[in-house]
Amino acid sequence: MNVDQPRVAILTDYLLHPTDSCLMLTSENFYLLELARFIQEELGWSVDVFQVSPIPERRFNGLNVKGIDAPPDSNGMYQTLNFSFFRAGLAYDLRIYHHWHLAFPQVCHRSIVISQGIFWDSPAGVINRQNSVGREEWEKRLLYAVAAPARFVAQDRNTVNVIKATWPGYEHRLLYLPPGVDLERYQPPASRPAAERVRVLCPQDFGLEQGINEIISLAELLVEAAPEVELHIVGRMREFSTAIMLAKRIHALENCRFYWVPTTHLAELYRTFDLALLPYRAGVGVSIHCLRAMACGLPIVAGLAGGLAEMSIDGWNGRLVPPGSARILLEAVVQLARDRDLRLRMGENARRLAEGYPLSAWKRRWKDLLERTMAAASPGIDAGALED
């Protein structure tokens, strides 16, 4: 351990595909890369990432990505991964658990746990499939991950509120640290000339609850209801075979496209759209996709779920809709598609809202948190026991 350059270990589930060396393009992973880059480049500390993978060590984007071959158990818990990381993490100065559900049964000393949002609010979620004993166990462990680390970072107010309501008396262990967006890079275009087509951005991580099926159903409905609207599903799936299947389904729809672009091109791409559609149902914290889209001046149509509600004020910067229904989406999308002025006005408001989440503030907060945590001396040894 070099005193001058603290070492940070970050634990996540899947940053890269476990066997193929491609990045899993999810909101959480964008966040992780941003955070790692910030720690390395601006704090000058070193960062290693640990994740589920049989490959012991890889390099990605200037990061060492270390594999721990330990998939989740039948309860959806990552016990083995957690334990292996506990051991490996001892050699570092500071540890970050990038997901709430990775931080039990045991966190290391001097650790920060990040919540990516309330992940169990879907009826289909892993916790709802347990019996009372299993759910009690989940609850116990979730509380542990809040109470035991040096700090628990909540990125959205929904997480804060759920924790407060579920385990009153632990809210002081939380740190609300909202995400940030690069407002320079993600900017609205100089002008949005009137066009015949209305281009809708649908950023997707293809998580279970991001409403991909609603988007496809919407596309079917739009053929008749608003043929001028085209949907662009932007993202990359984890498995090639499922991506092919999805592509086939989408191929049959003339007004719908499915592709992904490298992160460097995202800002440029986002600017070409007229509105963003995030019909997420559940399991969402703050979405970096949402922030980026807003920073590019896109009004958003978002599902009332998790942290999205914090980003979207219905009727001001877009529409906040009850999730799960293609027809309600249709109504909102058609409204925005048909009314250019409304779209532009809401887009301006969206940009204004995004300006409340500047990357600089995010960096300042993280710097502060990391330095405080790093500076905390361990109470575990009596430094003066040997003096008189």
């Binding site: 709802n128 019996n131 099926n213 609603e214 919407l218 079917e220 799960g324 293609a326 027809r327």
Partner: protein
């Protein structure tokens, strides 16, 4: 709700495409008739079920869905597949009580065919502790989360009210139906007195008590014939039943396709429905009543919604002694038999298909609010 008229219907095991064994269960007839109503009401029903293939049944196209592992009597993966496939639908119907777990769509209806967890051999009846609790939690969700629960009997609703009161406004009672055009009275065999058991060969249906009663009755009365008409869940049960019937004079065992059943009912004098549990407003019972027959029923589930003891049939405990006692009484009193049969026929008219359709139409327009 929009102008979309599509209705997503999830059925659990409409047709087993692997076993090739049609058990002529009430469920199929229920679906066929419900499908008809929906079409008549101007809806476009789309039916899914757990299956690897797509097939057609009586003009209904049925799409298969992967169903995953069963958990606590539920098929959560089937449910979620259904949810994802029907993202464009505004209305849905779950044909059986455990299907809505873990996630229901808006404007959904679930149908209960009667309490099925009152039989000690039913896997979820005998459990205790966290497993039972989890099963109950899922049952609770499945019956309370949809916008409407349609129950074929009052028994289910009463149990629910006693267990989880407060959901009554989203529950309705639509008893089963009988097609009186198919099932109508006819002259029985004048030489023999025929006692018919028209059910599956299942302990919960009282098959063992019926057999024991048959043995006693046939010993005592030479002019009696017992007909057991129904399938077992596997070949060996049926073979066993054949052997038993052959060994006992006056007892017969056979089974027939659906369309020949009305005739069977017409040829009987007394119909036995000796259910011990897991019973709604039994279709067999209604069919026997529509045939003007004297019915002898177990005092369980929805049967008490149909039969009032001594008025339009007999309700009894299902024990061999009790069955023998009731049957002997009926054998000795042809007048009583006739009177009960007439009242049964009268009763069955109230459960006509037309009434059933009217009730369903009313319920659906209440929950969907847009019947044409």
């Amino acid at each position: 709700m929009g102008s979309d008229r599509r209705v997503a219907v999830l059925d659990c095991l409409f047709m087993l495409d692997h076993g090739r064994r049609l058990t002529y269960d009430g469920g199929n007839r229920y679906l066929v008739n419900l499908h008809k109503i929906l079409v008549e009401m101007g809806y476009e029903p789309h039916v899914w079920q757990a299956s690897g293939t797509t097939h057609e049944y009586e003009g209904i196209r049925i799409e298969g869905l992967p169903w995953g592992e069963g958990e606590y009597g539920c098929q959560p993966d089937l449910n979620l597949q259904f949810y994802e496939r029907t993202s464009g639908f505004d209305r849905s119907i779950y044909m059986a009580p455990m299907l809505p777990f873990p996630r229901v769509r808006k404007h959904s209806v679930v149908i209960s065919h009667g309490i099925f967890w009152d039989f000690p051999h039913e896997p979820w009846s005998s459990l205790s502790g966290p497993f039972k609790q989890e099963w109950l939690r899922r049952l609770h969700y499945a019956l309370t989360a949809p916008d409407l629960l349609v129950s074929v009997d009052t028994n289910t609703l009463n149990w629910l009210r006693a267990t989880w009161p407060g959901h009554e406004t989203r529950q309705t009672y639509i008893p089963n139906f009988v097609d009186t055009a198919l099932f109508f009275p006819g002259a029985p065999n004048p030489e023999k007195l025929v006692i018919l058991y028209p059910r599956r060969l299942d302990p919960s249906r009282g098959i063992d008590e019926a057999k024991a009663a048959a043995e006693i009755m046939c010993r005592r009365y030479s002019n009696i014939e017992f007909h057991f008409v129904g399938r077992g869940i596997n070949d060996s049960i049926e073979a066993e039943m054949h052997a038993w019937a052959t060994a006992h004079e006056g007892c017969r065992y056979y089974w027939l396709p659906m369309h020949e059943m009305p005739d069977i009912f017409r040829r009987a004098d007394i119909v036995l429905i000796p259910s011990k549990s897991c019973e709604g407003t039994s279709l067999s019972c209604l069919e026997a009543m529509a045939g003007g027959k004297t019915v002898v029923c177990g005092r369980v589930g929805g049967l008490t919604d149909l039969v009032i003891d001594g008025v339009n049939g007999c309700l009894t405990e299902v024990t061999t002694e009790a069955l023998v006692q009731v049957l002997e009484h009926l054998v000795r009193h042809p007048d009583k038999r006739r009177r009960l049969g007439e009242q049964a026929l009268e009763t069955a008219r109230g459960f006509s298909l037309a009434n059933w359709k009217r009730r369903w139409a009313g319920a659906l327009s209440a929950v969907w609010g847009d019947a044409e």
